[in-house]
Symmetry: C2
Subunit: 427 residues, 2 copies
């Protein structure tokens, strides 16, 4: 396979077609393969009827070099994917005593007897390999014919994932189909919309026609993924281009890779050896949650108050009643009082606050639904900022959290030296 | 179409194939169509190369009665799905001045000029209808030929969703393809694993072979979806079966439909006209977030404290230092002190608390990683409960939140009369 092989993924599973579950296998496999330079070319989801399996599989086999299937390898009578595909291929299945021994051993550990229907899971392609399943009974299967490759994986995520990473990827790398090193670089940005980021990237796009640039937007974050177009480029060149892109993106650049905004803020504060407390109203716990998703969060994050009522804002965060009376709870003044109040009450170096109308109720002329005020208290100063979003309640919450984190990230980078010096003074 | 029409969905979008985004359109469309009794039969995701589009579309058109596409209707030069499909069908596209007028009006509101490339979005099938896009420029398109139906939808979710619900579904209902009423009933359960729920459902499965029973598991919740197998069953009969299932499921039954556990607890407390406060440690804001995702949450939820350090547990939640010294922060005693403390400090009727080790660090012999203690303070008593989960940090957080909410739900239902009487006394 000197040219880029065509990869097709077939997911078996009715639950993917009736809105019960998202096709996370496709996303996972696509991410894994793209990482090593081999994008999936097409995919399909089909029900597990025999005629449908055979027709779809043969179409895929005819038009692709590598076919990867997920699901349909279970022990029950309606899991006939293995048998149907073997029949479509005209390939022979043979009983494999080693598979049987592994399944028997598995049941022994569980203290249960192996049911007779598991015997059908002991068959493999006569001309093929077995991918051992360390978390379940159904082994994965590999088959090669006329330069084409078929890989069949079990449906449960916790079985599929280790099998793919530990066995299928090394197998494809050994065949020379997959690269041994990662094939793209991601730049995470925040602060500008997708079209602005695309415009910013234009000089790079024009200078390197052999580059593929993909964008992914999620709640105010725009990820830019750089990879060689349909082929390979040496990693050093790609790294050089990524650094050019970083310069163009300026302050919007958050990090290379997949670190969350909370993670970036966490690392900045950790480097300063400083702590943070949060007071949040309309985001209702989501901002605290973003921090506590990080392993070791307690080294930076001391705690937070979800002050959903004015009483709690006054009694637990220390917002002066006069501010609530004069400006209301959704105001820049209240945001600042919350940030400073929470830092003082929880004895943290930094305080971050969010107050606003997430909707769909609430809002007034000055502060329509979607208006969010952020407050930031630091050893070198106190700031507030107002943002406004449209969308449903959950969207507004998620965007407000990203806005707050991105704002702190910028402030921390801008005042890096001052904050560091301030830290030295304090010690 | 007297027999069940075969529906195929084609999603255009490279980002779905390289792990950037999950195919949420398929899940959405599958859920919507299944709701009205028409499951999607198969789907595929393809890149937007002309040859690929034509080949895949013709294959789908040949083997299906209804084809729904998403994406590829944008204004840029590489969005050629409309043109490629028209060519494959041998169907004529005509310029539609009404579409142009709508796009012009849209740009006028935005105070911008319409770029020339938007002109390609003004074309529709000569033998077809236009689905108006209330949130963007790309109109949806419908086409009918030889009893088959093609519906083309724009890619952005906020454009696709209202278009499908307000225009495509009524159109398909008017054609008699979709039922006018919902076609399945969902029973949400919590407290037992999938296999136990499946076992509990056995008498129903055996008594009604014409019934399809599907299960969906998410963080301790098991949804049971009852629908007629490949055809219709009168709604009254389905409702009767659903009520039989509810009885079998016992206390595990949460609700019919899709209400969240937080929503169920919210409604119970709202009916009692009582308030709730939360103190959470290892779940770090996620429990508060579950409540504040609900519209009107502030009627029940007064606020919460994310007490990530012992200092905050003592100073903000009122946990006695002696309890921390004697039992530690991860203990049933601390959970109870947190629940009662937060209710008292925030002047709420109920208090709910979570403390534990979400992992991967922490834990000790008595309380290994994944151990969670829950505390519940109510006007009729105070309880604690311990649960234990395996899995990553985020999984443990999500399962702990569901465990806490499910526990409160059971308690509220069990002591319903007492709590109601207690409410009367207090007033």
């Amino acid at each position: 396979m000197s040219k880029m092989p065509i990869v097709e993924v077939i997911n078996f599973g009715d639950e993917l077609l009736v809105g019960i579950r998202e096709n996370s296998h496709l996303t996972y496999l696509g991410g894994q393969l793209a990482r090593y330079g081999l994008p999936i070319h097409r995919s399909r989801v089909i029900t597990d009827e025999a005629s449908e399996i055979k027709r779809a599989f043969l179409d895929a086999w005819q038009h692709s070099d590598i076919v990867i299937t997920t699901g349909g390898l279970g022990p029950t009578a309606d899991d006939m994917t293995r048998e149907n595909i073997a029949e479509a291929l005209g390939a022979k299945l043979v009983f494999d005593a080693e598979i049987e021994a592994l399944i028997l051993a598995r049941f022994k550990v569980l203290g249960r007897r192996m049911a007779a229907h598991h015997l059908k899971q002991c068959y493999r392609f006569a001309e093929g390999e077995v991918l051992h399943n360390e978390r379940g009974t159904a082994p994965g299967l590999a088959y090669r014919s006329e330069g084409k490759i078929l890989i069949m994986l079990p449906g449960p995520t916790h079985e599929l994932t280790p099998m793919f990473e530990k066995q299928a990827i090394p197998m494809l790398q050994a065949m020379g189909v997959l690269s041994n090193e990662e094939a793209y670089i991601q730049l995470r940005t925040c602060g500008s919309g997708e079209s602005t980021v695309e415009e910013t990237m234009q000089p790079i796009v024009q200078a390197y026609p052999e580059l593929t640039v993909a964008y992914c937007v999620h709640y105010g974050i725009v990820d830019v993924r750089l990879s060689p177009h349909k082929g390979r480029m040496c990693m050093d060149k790609l790294k050089g281009i990524a650094h050019e892109a970083r310069v163009l993106l300026g302050e919007d650049f958050v990090c290379f890779g997949h670190c969350s905004l909370a993670g970036v803020v966490f690392h900045e504060l950790r480097a300063l050896d400083r702590t943070l407390a949060i007071a949040e109203s309309c985001t209702g716990g989501l901002l605290c949650d973003a921090f506590t998703n990080l392993q070791g969060a307690s080294k930076v994050f001391v705690g937070g108050v979800v002050c959903y009522s004015n009483d709690v804002k006054v009694s637990k965060v220390g917002v002066p009643e006069s501010i609530l009376e004069q400006h209301g709870a959704v105001s820049p003044e209240c945001a600042i009082a919350m940030a400073s109040g929470i830092a003082e009450r929880l004895s943290s170096d930094y305080g971050l606050s969010v107050t606003g109308f997430a909707g769909p109720d609430g809002g007034n002329e000055q502060n329509p639904v979607g208006t969010i005020h952020l407050g930031y208290h630091s050893p070198v100063g106190v700031w507030c900022k107002t943002v406004r979003y449209t969308g449903g309640r959950l969207d507004v919450k998620a965007r407000a959290v990203h806005a707050a984190l991105d704002w702190v990230r910028r402030k921390l980078r801008k005042y890096k030296i001052e904050e560091f010096l301030c830290g030295c003074e304090c010690d």
